[in-house]
């Protein structure tokens, strides 16, 4: 197990380096340090000298990958790539181009993201599994047919429609909850109702159909027929045998998502005014703040790799036949 984890870590390093390199190349392919300076300094009365000063001040006056003016290793270290990207491996996110500390900002923003994403994830997963089991229980009946039609209909609707529709229906017309907003602590619970509900509902269509398909596949296996033949109650067969054996593919989809819950949802956070990480990256791209973009892409990659590793570990935990070597 330890060997396996070390090997995964070793694989992760070149992946992260590649992601960093790609982000760096893409960002500076469309945005030069001069462009960034002009955007940060504002649209009016910007002199060439002000642009130069901003670049020096923020360390964007260095060459991209090779600094011929440097001496020894400084030819490589005194470059934009090393100074701006490689420090991330030490989890040193540095300061955003507007001067704010990125690590601190991430630390602050991830909690609102989590406060919305975690209940959405847990309640959503519970609801999707329950509905899928319900439909499987009534398979080959009108209930199942109507349920699947509804799920397909729900799948076909854009996520944005749920957000706007939910806000109009529950907040504007029925006036049950605030249209948007966020407050930390228990006093902010009423702000969470609508985004969590919408987050859940928007995922019902595809997730429930996926779980239903998994359960149906399990339900067709011989051991299920045997269990029925032995006289086990349909509930026991459903919850004990079918649900238990479908756990591995469920875990595949679920565990990989868990670390990324911190990163939040762009649309939900934007429409509900939730100060999370979801909109942090998009805001940074619009503001051409490379410092934030590279930090967030790096963090996203790191969490994704972490999610995959956790998924592998969970296989071994759920299924004794799987051994990690």
């Amino acid at each position: 197990m330890i060997t396996y984890l070390i090997r995964r870590l070793a694989y992760a390093l070149p992946i992260l380096l590649g992601v960093n390199l790609l982000t760096f190349a893409l960002f500076f392919g469309v945005s030069s340090p001069d462009d960034m300076a002009r955007l940060h300094l504002g649209g009016k009365r910007i002199t060439a000298e002000a642009v130069e000063r901003w670049k020096v001040q923020h360390g964007y006056d260095l060459p991209h990958f090779y600094n011929p003016a440097g001496e020894g290793v400084a030819k490589v270290t005194q470059t934009l790539f090393v100074q701006k990207s490689l420090k991330l491996f030490a989890l040193d996110f540095g300061a955003a181009d507007d001067g704010r500390d990125i690590g601190r900002e991430i630390g602050k923003r991830m909690w609102p993201s989590l406060v919305v994403a975690l209940p959405t994830f847990v309640l959503g997963l519970g609801a999707y599994l329950a509905i899928a089991l319900f439909l499987v229980f009534f398979r080959n009946t009108a209930i199942d047919t109507v349920g699947v039609i509804l799920l397909v209909a729900l799948m076909s609707i854009s996520g944005l429609f749920y957000v706007i529709g939910g806000q109009v229906l529950l907040a504007k017309w029925w006036q049950w909850v605030p249209i948007s907003g966020y407050a930390p602590g228990l006093s902010g619970l009423h702000f969470l109702v609508l985004p969590v509900l919408i987050g859940m509902v928007s995922g019902i269509g595809d997730s429930t159909r996926f779980y239903r398909a998994l359960f149906l596949e399990e339900a067709g296996h011989d051991y299920v027929r045997t269990a029925h033949a032995k006289g086990l109650s349909p509930f026991r067969v459903l919850f004990r045998h079918i649900l238990g054996n479908a756990a591995i593919p469920i875990l595949t989809g679920v565990v990989v998502v868990i670390p990324r819950l911190f990163l939040g949802s762009l649309i939900l956070e934007s429409f509900f005014g939730i100060p999370g990480l979801g909109s942090y990256t998009i805001d940074a791209i619009q503001a051409q703040d490379f410092a934030i973009v590279r930090a967030m892409v790096f963090l996203g990659s790191l969490l994704y790799i972490l999610g995959l590793t956790l998924t592998d570990l969970s296989y071994a935990w759920v299924d004794p036949r799987v051994r990690l070597q």
């Binding site: 469309v30 300094l41 504002g42 002000a50 029925w174 006036q175 948007s180």
Partner: protein, 680 residues
């Protein structure tokens, strides 16, 4: 939940903390987090809107007087100006600009201007362990002190500090005596890694004569400098606050002047979470000031202003209609719901909005939009007759009246010249019309006919949009940052306008960076551009056409790269003149010149439309002033009453939902029973 829905006194959908609506608190929003709150750096409107309430420059715009007029804010009187020649001799106020070597402004400060309470002013605060500090709230003590002239000097020096990167440093180093030299010295220090102590640096152009007297010396003559004294760039910064924030570990905790402003204005920033909410609270040390003409109304009139982050229009508009925001702009999507246009063309509130007792407030913005023709372009540019007539023809064809009607819901007026209404030099009615594009008919502006445009096009050598000799079609290029579905209709409109003359328009949509690049290189052909006034002086608009200020190669603001020796000569003459008939006469010549040369197709002056709830005190908008929050007033009791009236939760969906769930359970139960029965 039902009990909660029925029994709660405060509406359950209120986004505000319990009881907050009962206070004298303004609830508003912001859509984009401000990047900078340092008065030496902040220049965007959303930044100035916030720090304008916190910092106090020496002057302000009179809130109600029109045309806009400056008045002292922290001064006992308007600054006293002395002009000196090269030998230091005093010149007459109307001395020609070429004789003036220096302009000396002397500012006499009031003695009752005090800073907001802040830990930086506490002398014995070193006992606080910085490691444990997370925010300003962790500093138990607060103190204040009187604003001195040295604080203004300190801020002026900060404009040259390379660590600050002030956007106006480039302009001010050419203006304030010694500021460029100071900036150069500081830049060298920074390069060498030496510490920078602004207090130890001297600056000839900004001197504290005594605690209450500030002297600012400019190179040559720059009458518009007085307007800069009404901007936060020239607000006082106490050096001890800089020292306070410069201590180790403070910046990493976002404790800096760029994040936690310290001013003497009517409000201070009590909560700064730009990811969620920013809260301004009345400064207890604010000096005595009254609403103009109302000695019974001491400013500020409200206790707090809460700005919540709202990135999307839909939730913002919904909350405004529920009474949770006190005022709102009108987005295009909601225009028809809010406004109806009366038969005489005047906008008024829709019946729904009237039923809510809203106020509609409109005002022309001190801004101008135009379509620029690059003067360096071989087809469209230059002073030649053919290119001029081509530009004139296109200026007629671009039907801005139609554009305003389609894309702005009528919120604007077609521009006739380079100076918008409300700024000295603008001419109303027939006197100000652009004779190239309009005629005055039956007491109103009338756009010239397409036949006139086609005639000009033919005279330019492009009859029917084809080259007179070769027959090749005329293809022009519009460079724009606009892209995507939202911009498609507008860009199609442009194509249609050009097609009316048989001219093909190719839209070259690109991103912000590439567009800026093209403009800096002067390689764009036709482009959209606009300008918001920094200050209400015609120089601030006419300099956009001044040759030495061109963008290509010189990085100035003359985006069309227009070059006219006559215009440049008149500009130099006009910029130093006092407002009056003589200056108006020069401006009239300049306007006639650019109307004739047509380097811009003058597009429109936009109109701001705002809605306010009935509980807000009526105010005429002042679009030049930054510090208008202190004049805002409201009636919280009426607000709460309306909020309760407009927010009564509907209960029937809850019962309908419960009934639906019950039905589903029943159907499932019966299906289950049926299946069980079938199996047995």
């Amino acid at each position: 939940m039902v009990f909660a829905l029925m029994g709660c006194q405060e509406p359950i959908n209120s986004p505000h903390p319990s009881g907050a609506a009962l206070g004298k608190t303004l609830f508003s929003s912001f859509s984009e987090r401000p990047k900078h709150l340092d008065p030496a750096r902040a220049y965007s409107s959303n930044e100035i809107e916030l720090i304008g309430q916190i910092y106090e420059p020496p002057l302000q715009y009179h809130f109600t007087k029109r045309p806009y007029e400056l008045e002292p804010l922290t001064l006992t009187a308007m600054p006293h100006l002395t002009l000196l020649d090269k030998q230091g001799r005093v010149l007459a106020p109307n001395a020609p600009a070429e004789q003036v070597a220096q302009s000396v402004y002397e500012l006499q400060l009031r003695d009752d201007i005090r800073y907001q309470p802040h830990p930086a002013f506490v002398s014995a605060m070193h006992s606080v362990a910085l490691r444990t500090v997370e925010g300003l709230a962790d500093f138990p003590e607060r103190a204040s002190r009187t604003v001195t002239a040295a604080d203004y000097v300190h801020q002026i020096k900060r404009l040259a500090d390379p660590r600050v990167s002030s956007p106006i440093y480039g302009l001010m180093r050419e203006t304030i005596l010694g500021l460029g030299e100071l900036g150069d010295r500081l830049a060298v220090r920074q390069q060498k890694g030496e510490p920078i102590h602004l207090e130890a640096e001297s600056l000839a152009g900004a001197v504290a004569v005594d605690a209450r007297t500030l002297r600012i010396t400019l190179k040559g003559r720059y009458p518009q400098f007085i307007y800069w004294l009404a901007m936060p760039f020239f607000a006082p910064i106490p050096p001890e606050v800089e020292r306070f924030y410069a201590r180790p570990g403070m910046v990493e905790k976002n404790l800096s002047l760029d994040w936690q402003p310290v001013g003497s204005g009517p409000f201070f920033l009590a909560e700064n979470d730009p990811n969620r909410v920013m809260r301004l609270v009345r400064n207890p040390n604010y000096h005595l000031e009254f609403y103009p003409g109302r000695p019974d109304l001491r400013l500020p009139l409200i206790d707090q202003a809460v700005y919540s982050l709202e990135k999307e229009d839909i939730p913002y508009w919904g909350k405004f209609l529920q009474g949770y925001y006190d005022s709102s702009g009108i987005a295009s999507d909601t225009f028809d719901q809010a406004i109806r246009v009366a038969p005489d063309g005047t906008p008024e509130l829709s019946a729904e909005m009237q039923g809510r007792h809203l106020q509609l407030v409109t005002a022309l913005r001190p801004s101008l939009w135009y379509v620029g023709f690059n003067d360096l372009d071989p087809v469209l540019g230059g002073r030649g007759n053919a290119a001029r007539k081509l530009r004139q023809a296109l200026s007629i064809a671009l039907d801005w009246e139609e554009f305003i009607s389609i894309f702005l819901n009528g919120r604007g007026i077609p521009a006739q010249g380079p100076i918008p209404p409300g700024i000295f030099g603008h001419r109303e009615g027939a006197a100000g019309l652009n004779p190239v594009t309009h005629i005055w008919q039956q007491g109103r502006l009338q756009r010239r006919s397409l036949a006139d445009a086609k005639q000009l096009l033919a005279e330019a050598g492009w009859p029917q949009g084809r080259h007179a000799q070769t027959g090749a079609p005329l293809v022009l290029y519009l460079d724009t940052m606009a892209g995507g579905a939202d911009a498609k209709a507008r860009l199609d409109w442009y194509r249609k306008q050009f097609a009316k003359l048989g001219v093909q328009l190719v839209v070259r949509a690109t991103d912000y960076n590439r567009f800026q690049d093209k403009m800096l290189k002067g390689s764009a052909q036709i482009f959209e551009w606009g300008w918001n006034a920094d200050y209400p002086d015609p120089e601030n608009f006419l300099f956009l056409l001044y040759g030495p200020n061109r963008k290509a190669g010189l990085n100035g603001e003359n985006a069309a790269n227009y070059q006219s020796a006559e215009f440049d000569r008149l500009f130099v003459q006009m910029k130093d003149m006092q407002n009056g008939p003589a200056r108006q006469a020069v401006i009239d010549q300049m306007r006639a010149l650019v109307q004739h040369d047509a380097p811009w197709a003058f597009a429109y002056v936009s109109k701001s439309y705002a809605l306010r709830h009935g509980w807000m005190a009526p105010r005429t908008p002042n679009l030049m002033a930054n510090n208008t929050l202190k004049y805002t007033d409201l009636d919280p009791t009426a607000r709460v009453a309306y909020q309760q009236k407009w927010n009564r939760p509907a209960l029937w969906p809850l019962f309908a939902g419960l009934a639906g769930a019950g039905l589903l359970v029943t159907v499932a139960w019966r299906a289950w029973r049926r299946r069980e029965a079938a199996q047995t």
